[in-house]
């Protein structure tokens, strides 16, 4: 298109509007386009109720972990320990159940496992708030410590025998035909959405993420929020790992969370380029996780080799961050 001086301003305005529209709705449009494309390409397999529930089920662990991650990213903290935390969450629960089959039932094991994860999250937060170490480095370090500790305690052995059915039901059971992991993810998402959008704590988390100093001078106890946010993130990561263990029916001492680390960050950052560009939020994270899930599922029902999933996800992440970044630049 040629731009003559007369139409220059109109064209520039159009570009800005298009860019901001794309930054807001681009991910949703891509999601819809992909859904339509896969539905047409594999109309026999893809657009069935079973497959769509299957996609939801496939992203439930990712979604749960990404929701937790959203809470700490809102206040500007990167939690890199979620991979190790997921492994710990799954292993700790199964270990308690296998080792003390008579005295510990499933609810106790689940609660204990999540409490352990949350406690480590609190430690992460205390390191960040009171030792002044950046969350990025602190959680990298504690992640390494957790990985080592779990490997040491387990002797690198996977727990398979003696896991009660009640535990496996967490990952494999259904309520009214909907898999439990989906319900768990949606419940966690709803609670954290309420927390971030409608409570004072959530508003303070956003405020601290916006400007820690302005928040401090407004009387917010800034240092108390890092332990809180990182504990929530850790508990969600632990819950994700626990769901993975329940799906598998095994307590693996390594590698459970690693597959989710990049995807969880991708989902949250894709979410930050959706609807409210530049802001982390739960609904956005859900859309980010769905987008990843649809791509992975769609590519595999199309028979595309698995390695393409990694490549497509990487490209997608760059595109999402680019579109969010473009808008942020234009706004300033």
């Amino acid at each position: 298109m040629s731009v003559s001086p007369g139409t220059r301003t109109a064209a520039a305005k159009g570009q800005v509007d298009l860019a901001s529209w794309f930054a807001r709705y681009g991910t949703i449009v891509s999601l819809v386009v992909l859904l339509i494309y896969f539905s047409i390409a594999r109309f026999d397999v893809f657009p069935t109720v079973n497959n769509l529930l299957n996609i939801m089920n496939q992203i439930s662990i990712l979604g749960t972990m990404a929701f937790g991650l959203t809470v700490c990213l809102v206040m500007g903290l990167f939690d890199l320990s979620i991979a190790a935390m997921a492994t710990l969450g799954g292993y700790a629960a199964t270990l308690l159940l296998v080792r003390y089959p008579d005295s510990i039932n499933v609810p106790v094991a689940v609660s204990a496992s999540l409490l352990i994860c949350a406690a480590i999250g609190v430690i992460n937060g205390l390191i960040v708030s009171y030792l002044g170490i950046s969350a990025f480095i602190a959680t990298l370090a504690t992640g390494s410590i957790i990985t080592g500790a779990v490997l040491g305690i387990s002797g690198s052995e996977t727990l398979i025998t003696g896991i009660p059915d009640a535990f496996m039901a967490i990952g494999q059971g259904t309520i009214f035909g909907v898999a439990n992991p989906i319900l768990i993810m949606l419940a966690i998402g709803f609670v954290l959405w309420l927390l971030l959008e409608h409570t004072q704590v959530g508003r303070h988390l956003y405020a601290i993420g916006g400007s820690a100093e302005a928040s401090r001078l407004s009387g917010i106890a800034v240092k108390q929020y890092a332990p809180f946010a990182l504990a929530i993130c850790a508990a969600c990561a632990g819950l994700g790992g626990l769901m993975a263990a329940a799906v598998l029916g095994a307590g693996r001492p390594q590698g459970v969370g690693d597959t989710y680390l990049l995807n969880a960050f991708a989902a949250v950052f894709i979410g930050a380029s959706t609807l409210r560009p530049g802001k982390f939020h739960i609904l956005g994270t859900l859309i980010g996780a769905l987008l990843i899930g649809v791509i992975n599922n769609g590519l595999s029902v199309m028979g595309v080799p698995t390695y393409w999933q990694y490549i497509v996800q990487g490209v997608l992440l760059v595109l999402a961050l680019f579109s969010a970044g473009v808008l942020a630049v234009r706004r300033s």
Partner: protein, 526 residues
């Protein structure tokens, strides 16, 4: 479009005979420049002429078009209409690179230097560094080149020093040296003195005059009128994107320039009425309070009173506010509020007791940049909208109603309280910050430079607002880096030097001159 091809008729008599097109005395000429943004006409047929060796001040409120004009001159954006001539030849400045090649350089407010590396490295950042064997940096050659550049601006510092360790005036001169190193003929200075002490400003001005005598031109943007009167050979004022007047040095008039800046309908409110003021009971009192750089601070602030804490930067006037608000640790002494002893271990304690601090750096310390006007206003007040004591849900409707009320009461100009705070002008942003604390019901307001980077019209509104805060019964403690503000709004001024109060000036005794006299080491008048 103006008729191109015909050079403007030479105006001076001296260069009329020269063969070169245009006036040889003129380095840069801006003709009928128009810049159209979506929805706004940022520049409306603006003219500007900068002569060789001239220090030309560009004035105007925020939003008057100064930065748009500068961006056009330095090639950062393209005008919609009109033309720019450099040395009498029409120049297409498609990028800052092309502007630099024609000898136009910009020195921004923060001097575009990298603080962590040496002066020499900064100076040679944009040129290719001298090398040995084509790979390794030749440090000695680099020092030599840097020394040469520093000599040309008359600055005597070691080029190996880190820029972070320089005084602000030295940084400014290094930035200018860098511009000259790239053979700049016109140096655009965008608020160069905002971080400088008065003594440093005069050093900078001395250097500028010398460079101007060598034929370098300066386009000088500042909010500080007194400096403009001191340095400018010529003044151009923009208002609403149009030329609002131009004066040569001999014809400068403060009143005329202020009129041109603010426009005919708005007149500057001058002094506070010192007469009808009845102080109430003592609200905040310090008794030999010490901490950090502040030593043995004793004073009382009463209801309805506006107390000024004046002093040069580093005198302790600003630090005293931070100390009382719990930002710094108190090492000795007492603070009382309503006659009771109070100890603030953090800003949180101070806020809960009913103190408010508006810090100096709006962007770094008080705004929530990504948030809406509403969220910025309700930041310290969220607990009042909580519906239950456990989950602490926020009642969004009550929050909105209050934010709307504050925005109306303070006449904050915004499309909606849900608009991003960054879409507001500086003055309206600051009103939202003051509104935040008004809504909190604070009893003591501590304001550090509340009119910094706010245009003149909005300044008057903020002064009025501060007076209203005092009238409704709060005590206001005010400090600023601009001395002329104290006489205009304070009932009483305490002057700080070296962390201590060295004098007290009441009512009409507090003048720019008397404050500066005390602050810079004159006799003790307390």
């Amino acid at each position: 479009m103006p008729n191109t091809g015909v050079p403007p008729a030479p105006k001076g008599s001296a260069g009329a005979a020269r063969a070169r097109a245009g006036d040889p005395e003129t380095f840069l000429e801006v003709e009928r420049l128009v810049k159209q943004f979506p929805g706004t006409l940022a520049l409306d047929h603006v003219d500007l002429k900068i002569r060789c060796g001239e220090i030309h001040a560009l004035l105007g409120e925020n939003g008057a078009g100064k930065s748009t004009l500068i961006r056009a001159i330095c090639g950062a954006s393209q005008p919609t209409e009109g033309r720019i001539l450099v040395n009498g030849v029409e120049a297409i400045l498609a990028s800052p690179h092309e502007a630099a090649a024609l000898g136009i350089a910009v020195v921004h407010q923060h001097f575009n230097l990298v603080p962590q590396i040496s002066v020499a490295e900064n100076l040679l950042l944009s040129e290719s560094m001298p090398k040995r064997a084509g790979i390794f940096v030749d440090w000695r050659a680099m020092q030599r080149r840097a020394r040469l550049l520093l000599e040309r601006v008359g600055l005597q510092i070691d080029p190996r020093m880190e820029v972070a360790n320089l005084r602000p005036d030295e940084s400014a001169m290094v930035a200018i040296a860098k511009a000259i190193g790239s053979e700049a003929r016109l140096i655009i200075l965008d608020e160069p003195t905002s971080a400088l002490l008065p003594a440093e400003v005069s050093v900078l001005f001395r250097h500028m005059r010398r460079l101007a005598a060598d034929g370098h031109s300066f386009l000088y943007v500042s909010h500080r009128l007194s400096e403009v009167f001191e340095i400018a050979d010529r003044v151009t004022v923009l208002r609403d994107g149009r030329n609002a007047g131009s004066w040569t040095r001999d014809h400068l008039s403060r009143r005329a320039i202020i009129q041109a800046i603010v426009g005919g309908d708005k007149s500057l409110q001058e002094d506070i009425g010192h007469s009808d003021f009845a102080p109430g009971e003592v609200l905040l009192a310090a008794h030999e309070l010490s901490g950090g750089h502040v030593a043995k601070l004793s004073f009382e602030a009463r209801a309805h009173e506006i107390v000024g804490f004046a002093g040069l930067p580093g005198s302790g006037a600003e630090e005293a506010l931070d100390l009382m608000f719990g930002r710094h640790m108190t090492s000795a002494g007492r603070l009382t509020l309503d006659g009771r002893d109070v100890v603030f271990r953090s800003p949180r304690d101070a806020k809960r007791a009913g103190l408010a601090l508006v810090p100096k750096d709006r962007h770094a310390e008080s705004l929530l940049p990504g948030a809406s006007v509403r969220e910025n206003i309700s930041l310290p007040n969220l607990s009042r909208f909580v519906t239950d004591p456990v989950v602490r849900f926020i009642h969004r409707g009550r929050e909105r109603a209050e934010a709307r009320q504050v925005a109306e009461r303070l006449a904050i100009k915004t499309a909606s309280i849900e608009s991003p705070i960054t879409s507001l002008s500086g003055g309206n942003q600051q009103k939202a910050i003051l509104g935040r604390w008004l809504a909190s019901g604070a009893k003591v307001f501590m304001l550090n430079s509340p009119t910094a980077a706010v245009d003149i019209g909005a300044k008057a509104e903020i002064y009025t607002l501060i007076r209203q805060i005092a009238e409704i019964g709060a005590a206001v403690i005010f400090t600023s880096t601009e001395v002329e503000e104290f006489p205009r709004i304070c009932h009483r001024v305490l002057v700080f030097r070296d962390g201590q109060i060295v004098g007290e000036l009441i009512g009409k005794d507090a003048t720019d001159a008397s404050i500066l006299h005390l602050a810079s080491g004159g006799g003790d008048e307390r």
